[in-house]
């Protein structure tokens, strides 16, 4: 494992107010260490997604600072933003696969945009699809795959360029219980291999299964932060 555990995400006094004055996040302070597995829980509208968006720089905070690997995200120029995002693999409830590309092409795309050489793509993409259990179906289009299978493709895509961190926003929201467990097991496995994982979920079983640090958000505030946690409403 990593010799030196360092802070991968540091959030300092972050407030996010959307147009219309709605405050999604209100004075958040948070540190995430490299290699941690974090379950982010809270009701819909508590600010989970917004918090995650700040990390992969889809949104910028109204107040406060977000540091990734000790780098202030507000100082990254728009041109350099894609490079930041390549450090983070993202997984979503609605999968966000490219519908016109096969499973293989979807995963390969994440490597292509980085300028990876063809030989590496040909070698690594089938390997990673094998690991998530989709080696047989890699030339199918998303519409030909079940929800659980699509989410596995998404995980493969998130992992392919070996990101420092996986951000999963309700990854099991659209899945049946069996697929949900599979996905969480995959996330735990990924975490075991050293990648930091943030899992936002309001699924009690999923969070309890993980049994890792639990952060509870309510109305834009952190109300609980347990190192060895269970799903709860504080």
């Amino acid at each position: 494992m990593e010799e030196e555990i360092k802070t991968i995400v540091r959030i300092e006094g972050v407030t996010k107010v959307f147009n219309g004055g709605y405050a999604a996040l209100d004075g958040i302070d948070l540190e995430i260490q490299n290699g941690e597995f974090i379950s982010l829980v809270g009701q819909s509208g508590a600010g989970k997604s917004t918090l995650l968006k700040l990390i992969y720089a889809e949104e910028m905070p109204t107040e406060g600072k977000v540091y990734f690997n000790e780098k202030d995200l507000s100082e990254i120029s728009r041109r350099k933003l894609p490079y930041h995002r390549r450090n983070i693999g993202t997984v979503f409830q609605d999968f966000k696969l490219l519908p016109q590309k096969t499973a293989y092409e979807n995963v390969a795309y994440a490597l292509e945009v980085c300028g990876a050489p063809k030989e590496d793509i040909l070698e690594d993409v089938p390997q990673i699809l094998d690991i998530v259990g989709l080696g047989e179906k890699m030339h199918k289009f998303p519409r030909e795959l079940s929800g659980g299978e699509q989410q596995k493709v998404v995980l493969a895509r998130a992992l392919i360029h070996k990101p420092l961190m996986i951000v999963a926003d309700e990854p099991t929201g659209n899945l049946d219980p069996v697929s949900s467990v599979e996905i969480v097991q995959l996330l735990l496995k990924i975490n075991n291999l050293g990648t930091t994982v943030i899992l936002a979920s309001h699924d009690r079983d999923i969070v309890n299964k993980a049994a890792k640090r639990v952060i509870v958000l309510e109305k834009g505030k952190v109300i609980c932060d347990d190192a060895k946690g269970k799903y709860k409403i504080c």
């Binding site: 995002r85 390549r86 980085c114 990876a116 690594d124």
Partner: protein, 320 residues
Amino acid sequence: MTQRENIKFVKINLSKKNMFLVIARTFRGGMNNFWRNGWLSVAAVSVLVLSLYIIGVMLVVTVTTNGILKNIQEKVNISVYFKPDVSEDRINQIKVQLEESTEVKSAEFVSKEKALEDFKRNNANEPVIMQSLEEIGGNPLLSSLVIKANEPSQYETISSFVSGDSFKEDVSRVNYGKNKEIINKLNGIISEIKRIGLVLVAVFSAIAILIIFNTIRIAIYTHKQEIEVMRLVGSSNMFIRLPFIFEGVVYGIVASLVSMLLLFVTLKFLSPYLTRVIPTENLLSFYFSRFGILILIQTAFGVFLGVVSSVIAVRKYLRI
């Protein structure tokens, strides 16, 4: 742990850009979009074809009309008749003087002998006229200069020039008065047709641009989520934009080819009718003699529209 050792993860130099790789990959992406979006591509190309076709037809109509008008213009002239005692030398002197002025395109000398000859030939079937000509005896006709202007609007100036004081001793009469009405009418028609043609081309081009622009925007709107996904996996803006631009280029090229084919069919069908009305015009030979420039204009226009609308539409979702 074992699994991690199994995978040789790619080591990527993020700062190094391989432009060739980017272009090859985005080009392939654009082609894939074009084929895999089947109906959307058909819709976008059809609209583009229609617009290019209309513009092509307008182009041919404008050029042909101009040709016809030029033809008619060629036949318009004014004649200056000289008094019987004016010598040929003097007339030649005036001819040279006229030819030096900017308005005059040509001035042709017609001697009274030639005028008589022409008159006899033209009226050979009119016994009454021929008989009266014989009764008069000799040659009643005058020598003249037949003047053509560069522009129909210049006849007025030329006419007042030759009717002026400097030629009072020489000139018997100028037939401008007689031709004045027809020349003015022609003048009006020409400028009217030119104006209408220009307005029509402008209006149709504007409509075409708007329709194409919106069609391609809608086509890209369906890619809205894809663009979001591309950004999330760390695509640079260029890498997102290029496939759409290539797609726009393909739209333009395919549309211009189809439109040229349609134009050919239309002209082949219409050509015999036009040739019957105006024997000097042949639409098909026009099409082939200008094939290069026609296809160039159409392709340039199509590709330009395709690319510009793609760039603007993608721009919206890139949040630049």
